[in-house]
Subunit: 398 residues, 2 copies
């Protein structure tokens, strides 16, 4: 937790991954992010992984440091309260549909400079999710050794869309501060995905070559990088991106003469050219395979670290989680009183501001924990009216 966004308040009506992470990143930087959910929780409130008492470890991590207002969004009075909260706040993050009671036009009718950031599936409003958008742009057909497609397990498009939505919210606020103009910003997963293919050169490459990139398993396209196995059976990734790393890797493995022989035979120099190291991988990789298979991982790791060579053994997520350098001793983590009752390292902001004190992470709210506070503060509802709404089942409290 940092205080970069102190003073900013955002209403969030969202579910799944992308839209909640946009709110999470803002909350971890000090914004007041108020989730408004169906009483009892929205569609992802019980999403796996869950504890034995069916508390979602997923939900309670994606919604840290937020407040919760619970409303019956199936009834007009609940919907109107959400609309009123959006208008009274002026900033709104959502993945609700473009049309309907949370359309920007409807909301802006009572708040002319409202900023709505809306995460969508397809840009035309039809439904899509990370997994289906990923198929649509072709990555599963490039992943793994084939022939079957391999989906990524990391919901990368959701995550990128969420971070981009948080960026777009602040960009829109910056313009409003300068000009007074708000508006809607739509972030479709499909455009994040195909736009990313474009940004990485993928559209240009496919149209230039008229073909698909070869499927490379764990090798990296266009440079020297793939997995190797050490004498003691440790599979490890090695990637070279600078001349110094290449020189040090060749030196560390005693391959100077062998590399020089390939360079002489093929009339090339690998010293400064990622592309040549990739083009001639048929000759290079077997040399490195043999040299690495000859030495232990501990031995190689020490030499690689000394040479600034980028490498990393494969390990399981459980091993990663139990690595003190990565989690227990990492200052981005702290303790928080989670709704599930289970205690574990809780993440704060990804970023570190070395000159600022980091405040500990905060827990996700219980459904409706801040209903009374927010309805009183934001909408100036008297306590008797709030009590009536609770009795009528329009407002839920924790």
């Amino acid at each position: 937790m940092y205080d970069l966004l102190t003073g900013l308040s955002v209403i969030e009506a969202s579910s799944f991954v992308a839209s909640p992470t946009a709110g999470l990143y803002c909350a971890q930087m000090g914004a007041e992010v108020i989730r408004v959910d169906q009483i009892g929780g929205g569609p992802d409130f019980r999403r796996w992984p869950v504890t034995e008492s069916n508390d979602s470890l997923y939900w309670e991590n994606l919604n840290r440091a937020k407040k919760s207002v619970a409303l019956d969004l199936g009834r007009p009075e609940g919907r109107e309260l959400l609309q009123a909260l959006v208008r009274a706040t002026g900033q709104f993050i959502t993945n609700f549909p473009v049309g309907g009671f949370l359309s920007h036009e409807v909301l802006a009718a009572g708040c002319a400079d409202l900023i709505t950031v809306r995460v969508m599936g397809w840009a035309d409003g039809s439904p899509a999710l990370d997994y289906t958008v990923n198929n649509s742009v072709g990555y599963p057909m490039l992943t793994g050794t084939g022939p079957a497609p391999v989906n990524h397990v990391l919901p990368a498009w959701d995550l990128l869309s969420g971070a981009y939505a948080a960026f777009a919210l602040l960009a829109a606020i910056q313009r409003r501060t300068a000009t007074g103009v708000g508006g809607e910003v739509r972030v479709p997963l499909s455009d994040v995905a195909i736009g990313t293919v474009a940004n990485l050169g993928g559209i240009a490459e496919a149209l230039y070559s008229g073909a698909n990139r070869p499927r490379l398993g764990n090798a990296v396209y266009g440079l020297f990088g793939r997995d190797f196995v050490t004498a003691d059976g440790q599979r490890t990734m090695i990637v070279v991106v600078t001349p110094r790393q290449w020189a040090n890797l060749v030196l560390a493995l005693g391959l100077d003469d062998a590399i020089a022989a390939i360079e002489a035979a093929r009339g090339v120099s690998f010293a400064k050219d990622d592309g040549l190291r990739f083009t001639h991988r048929d000759a290079l990789y077997p040399l490195f395979e043999a040299a690495i298979a000859d030495r232990s991982h501990a031995d190689l790791a020490a030499v690689f670290d000394a040479g600034g060579i980028v490498h990393s053994p494969y390990r399981t997520m459980l091993d990663a989680v139990q690595d003190p350098a990565l989690v227990a001793g990492n200052p981005i983590f702290g303790q928080a009183d989670n709704p599930s009752g289970f205690a574990y390292p809780a993440a704060g902001a990804f970023a570190t501001l070395p000159q600022d004190a980091r405040q500990p992470p905060r827990p996700a709210p219980r459904n409706g924990a801040h209903s009374e506070e927010i309805l009183a503060d934001r909408l100036s509802l008297p306590s008797g009216e709030i009590a009536r709404l609770i009795d009528a089942g329009i407002v839920g409290v924790a």
Copy 2:
């Protein structure tokens, strides 16, 4: 291109994916982003994919709409010019090391409220890349069907770190506007990766269960979703995240009675519970496999679309790029005069602001194309002095 960030100027000294995308997202929203590179190009200036004339299709897409100043950063005078540009501008995005001539302390000595956003590998400053960070947190051991680990091809950690860095830059500017205080914001890939594992519930899950999640191939954890093959051999992804989608999927495939029989036999109801649909996948998936294998993809797609069911056939990137709905007819794309000379659809901002006119995408700059303009405007260097610097090889021009 949109104008949300008009008036913001940023110096970028960066390479590879993460740091350049942070600048790209800002430039596509209207900021003036000035890349400062080594004369002739930095370490990624020729990165693959490249054209036959060795122009990088990767570089020219990651650096659209930016300006370019070329300096000899190997000499003190070139380094001092970059430092002066950063101080004169006040905002800096980089992946240069924490120490050295671009350390925040050195730069802020001449610009007390400077904001530096620094993308890093490991948080302690040691080198890491997307591929090695990914190994370190365990995703390759969860991807594919096993037993071998599978790296993602999409540089997801780079991309997420870049978008988060752009968000963090605007957040830091927001605080500086309010308080006058700048500072350094460090975004290590390693903390983005392990922080994301935490945000998705992965740390909690691993510590709660004491085990790794099962490896599921193309099936999605914790809900109903995986790949199926139609009668005409089309592999397609289907994912269910709402009760309505479930009801419509069961109806579309005529599985009502068969599902009811499983529910009766096992004493559960699948209507509203993602987790139960996952737990009982041993019974459910074979039913759906058979029903889907019985019908053509076209037939199923029509019924699925009508029912709001989220599905997507697998296809190659070349097929995706040639889909008019995704690229040629998609308003996020336009034409730009690329340095490579090759013409193809160029991407603008991922986001769409429906109330604003979208300006066409702009090309990446040629190395040094804006050296004279920026040195004159930003540092008030007289033309004679700029000519001397060019003659001395300290400044490069396109």
